[in-house]
């Protein structure tokens, strides 16, 4: 799956980089890569066990963190999922949940490419 990354988001992170400090973009993306699978896991677990509150919290978290790294498609999907969980719309959650893992993987690939190109 080919996923595009919002350049503005990445520029914003770069702009927050302070001289002499570890590369912020690398760290943020690293965090995104390491932390998000846990969030996705709890989200899917929530869908499996029909725990809408767990789904909502996980979607909310992933919505923000993906937005920061420019993974706008993933962020948008999480937003829809958060709304569906909030509305107790279980079928919608199931449908939306299916694509989250793929979207995440696609976003990670795109970010990796983007970083290695910059390096």
């Amino acid at each position: 799956m080919t996923v595009s990354i919002d350049e503005n988001a990445l520029k914003a992170i770069a702009a927050l980089q302070r001289p002499g400090k570890p590369d912020l973009l690398t760290r943020i993306v690293g965090l995104f890569k390491s932390e998000s699978p846990k969030t996705i896991a709890s989200m899917l677990e929530g869908i499996d066990s029909a725990d809408m509150e767990a789904v909502r919290v996980a979607a909310h978290t992933l919505k923000s963190s993906s937005a920061y790294v420019g993974a706008l498609e993933l962020s948008e999907r999480c937003k829809e999922l958060e709304r569906a969980a909030h509305d107790q719309n279980f079928p919608a959650c199931m449908a939306l949940g299916d694509s989250v893992e793929d979207l995440f993987q696609g976003s990670v690939n795109a970010l990796d490419q983007r970083i290695s190109k910059a390096a």
Binding site: I13, A15, L16, R18, L31, V57, S64, S65, Y68, V69
Partner: protein, 729 residues
């Protein structure tokens, strides 16, 4: 408490800010924390972080940050609960909190404000804007801090000064006020006093009316005012003295819209002033005025005496042998004695109040003061006669010498009194005090327990009149008084027209005394009332006896003094004399002086009418010496005028006197009055008066005043004498 914490507490004192303010950022999204950290640190903040609400509270207590950025949705404890908890901490009540919410989450935004968030920001956070928002919030917080601090300082200042402020809207009449205003009046905030009228009603009368009138006047004239008044505090029912300052204020449009002002509780200051005044002007041992207060009163009295031309007296006294009491029984006993002496002095002076002619005038009040040691001064604000001072001195000496119970002992002291009298003995406070002091030393030289006037003349005068007064009192009881009779004749016929009764006093030591020597004293002391009654009764009785003895009925004239006229019921006395003697009232004639009638014209007319109603005759004595208005004379129900002897005396030499006499006679005849000439001593005078058609004559030419026996003899032979005198008729 860790050193770091105490330092940070010190740093958050009101109005101060850390050099690098601390921001606590709470978010479960580590990326968000990371990005914000850089932006905030660049902008000059130190950042501490927490991943959930629970941790946020820990961090907050630990670091006391200047501002919190709080994510709403977090695991463990969400942002809402964390904010609620922090706001309940005393250090967290005012810290600015920036809530991070979802863009479309309106419910969360509303909820965030409800629980005490300061501001909100939506996700995703713009990290470039974030530091500016934080900066702005910190600035507002400083302003709010400064305002809170200023309010708290003002509140403290008002509390310390016991001064509250208020403002009164002239359009709505509403009154708003500070916390201290409520504390002073004893009312809770938001209760009790909401309008100016309600405030006025808290004030005690008579101050209330005064404050209301002043405030109305101030509104009317647009002028500031101040006033003092008393209120009863609703907290503890204590009476508070309040000073109010007020000034009107205009709106920007120029209309007078507000009255602004303060109230200050000056109860303690007022009490302190009273206490200072008491300490400065009153003696601590006896509670009497001290020297300073006496001097002030003396100055008043002097001024008043000068203005009203009255007399006053200073009695200077000390206690004989007081030192021995102090030495043998101790100072407490000495103080006790002084207090008892003070009480006796005060009651003697209070009982002597009747000697003051105008009791209600504060300037003429009597004052008892203690100068110090065993020295006292009694100031008699107004005395009519020097004997009054002597009488008070005598009473004081008598009262002081009664033994005292001091603890288990009985003590006797006496006093020596020196008296100065204004204006004779001094014309300022110092000389009056000095004269009294000198007089006291003279008194001591001539033996203790006595009194002495400063001036020998006054002393003798007082003593002489004092003893004469006592003698006169006993003279009435001891029947040392007798009557003398001077006949009057009808000029045209020589017939006996009547007699005038005169009083004689045969004093056991001074011998025979004329009325001029003792009547004025009798009038001053009021003895004249009793004396007058006696004369009335005896005169009527004597005439009735003569009539019963077969003499032809004739009028008996009795003099009536102004004191009898004004201070006793003279009609009652006359009635009683008539009843007692059985005399035909038509034979009684009351002689009144012209000046007496002039004192109170309407009352004079009334009494004369009452006399007429009794059937007795009335005459005006010494006519021509007063200044009767002729219209008044016309209204007086009198029967006779007696021409004063001063006009008769030089009748044959002075044409002016002759003119006056003619005028009086003509006037009298026109008014149908009988005219009597007094003091007729020569045949020439008699002839001239007869020529003027004067009706009756009295004087040495006819007869001197005679006692009962002499008069009987005179009466036997009067026909022949008179017939000879008027033979030229």
């Amino acid at each position: 408490m860790t050193p770091e914490l105490s330092k940070s507490m010190q740093m958050v004192a009101p109005g101060m800010q850390r050099e690098r303010p601390i921001v606590l950022h709470v978010d479960d999204d580590i990326a968000s924390l990371m990005m914000a950290e850089g932006a905030l640190e660049d902008a000059g903040f130190d950042v501490i972080q927490a991943a959930d609400g629970q941790e946020a509270i820990e961090r907050f207590k630990e670091h006391e940050p200047d501002l919190i950025i709080m994510d709403a949705v977090m695991p463990v404890m969400d942002g809402f609960e964390a904010i609620s908890t922090i706001r309940e901490l005393s250090i967290g009540a005012h810290v600015p909190i920036l809530m991070i919410t979802g863009l479309d989450d309106l419910d969360s935004i509303t909820r965030a404000y409800d629980i005490g968030a300061t501001d909100f920001l939506t996700k995703p956070i713009n990290f470039f804007i974030l530091p500016h928002r934080v900066q702005y919030m910190l600035r507002s917080k400083l302003t709010a801090d400064a305002l809170r601090s200023s309010q708290s300082k003002l509140d403290n200042a008002q509390r310390i000064a016991r001064l509250g402020n208020w403002d009164w809207c002239l359009c709505t009449n509403e009154l708003s006020w500070s916390r201290e205003f409520g504390r002073i009046l004893g009312v809770e905030e938001g209760a009790g006093i909401a309008t100016w009228a309600e405030f006025i009603n808290c004030i005690e009368e008579p101050d209330r009316t005064n404050v209301r009138l002043l405030s109305e006047q101030s509104v009317e004239e647009k002028l500031p005012f101040n006033v003092e008044f008393s209120v009863v505090s609703r907290f503890d029912d204590s009476v508070r003295r309040i000073r109010l300052e007020a000034e009107p204020h205009a709106q920007e449009s120029g209309e007078w819209a507000y009255m602004l002002g303060t109230i200050q509780d000056i109860t303690e200051r007022t009490n302190a002033q009273k206490q200072i005044h008491n300490l400065a002007y009153y003696d601590l041992v006896t509670g009497l005025p001290n020297r300073a207060q006496l001097t002030e009163q003396l100055r008043y009295t002097l001024k008043s005496s000068k203005r009203n031309d009255t007399k006053f007296a200073v009695l200077f006294l000390d206690l004989d042998h007081f030192k021995q009491v102090n030495d043998t029984l101790g100072h407490d006993a000495g103080d006790d004695l002084l207090l008892q002496v003070a009480n006796r002095l005060t009651s003697v002076v209070r009982e002597s109040d009747m000697i003051s002619s105008n009791d209600n005038d504060p300037e003429s009040q009597h004052t008892v003061a203690r100068l110090g040691g065993d020295e006292f001064v009694v100031l008699l604000g107004v005395i009519n006669r020097v004997e009054d001072a002597a009488r008070v001195a005598e009473r004081i000496a008598q009262s002081i010498s009664v033994p005292y119970d001091i603890g288990s002992s009985t003590v006797t002291v006496t006093t020596t009194i020196g008296i100065s009298v204004y204006p004779a003995d001094g014309d300022d406070t110092e000389s009056m005090m000095k004269s009294a002091d000198v007089a006291m030393y003279h008194a001591k030289e001539s033996g203790r327990n006595g009194y002495q006037f400063y001036s020998r003349d006054i002393h003798e005068q007082a003593l002489s009149r004092f003893s004469l007064e006592a003698d006169l009192r006993s003279a009435i009881e001891n029947k040392e008084l007798t009557l003398a009779f001077q006949p009057k004749v009808e000029m045209s016929t020589g017939r006996l027209a009547g007699v005038e009764a005169l009083t004689r006093w045969t004093h056991p030591e001074r011998g025979l005394m004329n009325p001029g020597e003792f009547i004025p004293l009798a009038e001053e002391t009021g003895l004249i009332i009793e004396l007058g009654r006696w004369v009335l009764r005896e005169s009527c009785k004597q005439m009735q006896l003569w009539i019963e003895a077969g003499w032809p009925p004739m009028t008996i004239a009795v003099n009536c003094s102004s004191v009898q006229f004004t201070k006793s019921d003279v009609i009652e006395d006359i009635n009683e004399a008539i009843q007692y003697s059985g005399l035909d009232p038509r034979l009684l004639e009351i002689e009144l002086t012209e000046s007496l009638l002039l004192q109170d014209g309407e009352k004079g007319i009334q009494i004369l009418s009452d006399m007429k109603a009794l059937g007795i005759q009335t005459s005006i004595d010494d006519f021509g010496t007063g200044f009767s208005s002729l219209s008044y004379l016309k209204r007086l129900p009198v029967d006779k005028l007696k021409i004063d002897q001063s006009f008769v005396k030089d009748l044959d030499k002075d044409s002016g006197d002759a003119a006056i006499v003619t005028a009086i006679i003509t006037l009298s005849h026109n008014l149908n009055l009988t005219v009597v000439a007094e003091g007729v001593e020569t045949q020439e005078q008699f002839d001239i008066l007869r020529g003027f058609k004067c009706n009756e004559a009295q004087g040495y030419l006819i007869s001197y005043p005679l006692d009962i026996e002499q008069f009987s003899l005179w009466l036997d032979s009067y026909r022949e004498q008179i017939l000879q005198k008027v033979s030229g008729l």
